[in-house]
């Protein structure tokens, strides 16, 4: 019964207050977060990278470790953002009723959605930066050239937040997200060019990968991290923007329906 007008989709300054709320929570747990942000890429790079490097050698003209690290720069954004936009958002929406409390202030659903998307993207940038540092220390990428990845990480964060955030209003429990993680996020992680170029996939697989956001993020991040020429950056950027924008609009709709019933 909720009819939305154009102004219901326009976020205001209140979205920054939502973002700052999340920053404040994150700062309280900063040590745990940072350890995880650094720990995960180190494990991937050491276990997978060193393990495979000897057999694979080079991939697509890059040493395998470099190939892998430049893909992890954005797949880490995906994991971080997806987790935040599913589990954390659901926690704030349902058991904690944080959004109900916020909706008794001048903020509106659009502010909550925009603030959460912004925060997801911020966490994505933090995760990506951790990998930049680890990969830099291992001599896999060089600065300052690789810093171009940071805006891509932000855009990737927005895209994944947009991809995932519309789901939580349909969830009845956390289990719902496990399905999505296992059936969508993990296959995307495997098949979007992080571990090997998607050319090795059958045509249908390539087509599927190119519809999903991670492939486009990898296509932007890898050349930037390795100072190679970008191919079709506008297309990739637009796809990511589209995910972010469509996800935002759907989220305002779905969260309004769930929160304002």
């Amino acid at each position: 019964m909720i009819e939305l007008t154009a102004s219901d989709f326009r976020p205001g300054r209140g979205s920054l207050a939502v973002w700052r709320r999340n920053v404040r929570v994150w700062r309280k747990l900063i040590r745990v977060s940072i350890v995880l942000n650094f720990g995960e890429p180190v494990i991937y790079l050491l276990a997978l990278g060193y393990g495979l490097q000897r057999f694979v050698g080079a991939m697509d003209g890059l040493p395998y470790m470099v190939f892998l690290a430049s893909g992890l720069l954005v797949s880490a954004v995906m994991h971080t953002t997806a987790f935040e936009a599913m589990y954390s958002v659901y926690t704030r929406m349902e058991p904690q009723k944080t959004y109900q409390a916020i909706l008794a202030t001048p903020l509106r659903v659009a502010d909550i959605v925009a603030g959460e998307l912004l925060w997801c993207a911020t966490k994505g940038v933090i995760a990506s930066t951790a990998i930049l540092i680890v990969a830099g220390c291992m001599g896999l990428i060089s600065f300052p050239g690789a810093l171009g990845v940071i805006p891509v990480a932000f855009l990737t964060g927005l895209a994944f937040a947009g991809f995932v955030m519309p789901l939580a209003p349909f969830a009845r429990s956390y289990d719902y997200f496990s399905y999505f993680y296992t059936l969508v996020i993990v296959p995307m992680f495997m098949c979007s060019g992080v571990f090997y170029p998607i050319d090795s996939l059958p045509a249908a697989g390539q087509w599927a990968a190119s519809l999903l956001p991670l492939y486009h993020a990898v296509e932007l991040a890898r050349p930037l991290a390795t100072q190679a020429p970008l191919s079709a950056p506008l297309v990739h950027g637009l796809v990511l923007l589209l995910y972010a924008g469509a996800g935002y609009a759907l989220s305002v709709r779905f969260y309004s329906r769930r929160l304002l019933q």
Binding site: R20, T98, A101, I102, A104, Q261
Partner: protein, 314 residues
């Protein structure tokens, strides 16, 4: 209503106005043509049995759920369209606490203030004052989970005041509190009233409504069935004398019922005789010295029970 300019609000405008508001859930009219006005500085009590539609009315007033029809104006703003503007001048104590478990007591206040766009640099004094108001200064660094129910409720009230609102909406502010804490709450609410704020509160405690409210509306099935000051309601809807009988056998029931101008009702396991004239009942009771009987004056609870009479619901 909708067409009226909201640029300048004349003093005589009500703080809250509902006109013929309808809200349905699953085809059922939970709020059914509700109309009411709350004036500046009033303490307005909304009473009604479980499921009467009180919380739904409050959620509509906040723009947190949209009515099917009717119009709502709050602080000069059309709701739900401009509800966010109205909320800037309101404080809300929801029926169920939704304090933020990610933060300490003090942070709950400062984070909430940030949602009203209040600048951080002016905040410390205000937060200190609110902590004192809620008698929670000694707990300011505690986590929410470490607070008792009464402390959480006080913190929720303090949180509702961060933006120094002119209108405060309280949905069952004292449910589940012990008598001590309830009295603290009452004195806080009276302080707020005396400082000129408009209060809308729901409660299931008739004593609370009688003590605090200038005007009451009794709601049932989404409609207002009685309206007026506590004294007016009691006078209009209930005989002056009430006799309570824990036990009455059938002949006694018949005898009481037969007395002139005595109304006999059963509520729970007890019987109640309502009458303007006490003497006939006293005379009758004198002939039954074994009978347990309590004589008292009528009160709001009698009115409530009478007007909302029916079996338990929910």
């Amino acid at each position: 209503m909708r067409g009226r300019s909201s640029v300048c609000v004349p003093v005589s405008d009500p703080v809250i106005e509902f006109a013929h508001v309808v809200k349905q859930y699953d085809g059922r009219r939970v709020v059914d043509g509700l109309s009411l006005r709350i004036e500046q500085g009033q303490c307005f009590g909304l009473l009604g049995p479980n499921g009467a539609g009180k919380t739904t009315a409050i959620r509509m007033l906040l723009g947190m759920t949209h009515p099917e029809s009717g119009s709502i104006r709050v602080l000069g703003h059309a709701v739900p369209e401009q509800a966010h503007r109205a909320r800037a001048g309101m404080g809300v104590v929801p029926q169920l606490d939704n304090l933020d478990p990610d933060f300490s007591v003090r942070e709950n206040l400062s984070v909430y203030a940030s949602f009203f766009g209040l600048p951080d640099n002016t905040l410390d004094d205000r937060v200190d004052w609110l902590l004192e108001f809620a008698e929670l200064t000694h707990k300011q660094h505690a986590r929410i989970g470490e607070l008792s129910g009464g402390m959480q409720r006080r913190l929720t009230l303090a949180r509702a005041l961060v933006n120094n609102p002119g209108l405060i909406v309280l949905d069952e502010p004292t449910t589940g509190l012990d008598p001590q804490v309830r009295h603290v709450m009452w004195s806080r609410l009276r302080d707020l009233q005396q400082s000129g704020k408009t209060l809308l509160l729901t409660t299931h405690y008739m004593e609370e409504a009688e003590r605090l409210c200038d005007v009451l509306a009794i709601m049932d099935h989404g409609r207002i069935i009685a309206h007026g000051s506590p004294a007016e309601l009691v006078r209009a809807h209930c005989e002056r004398n009430v006799f309570e009988f824990p036990r009455l056998d059938a002949p006694q029931q018949a005898a009481l019922d037969a007395l002139p101008e005595v109304r006999l009702e059963r509520s729970g396991t007890s019987w109640y005789a309502y009458t303007e004239q006490a003497d006939p009942v006293h005379d009758w009771a004198a002939g039954h010295p074994q009978l347990r009987m309590l004589h008292r004056h009528h009160n709001l609870e009698d009115v409530f029970l009478r007007l909302t009479r029916r079996d338990l619901r929910d």
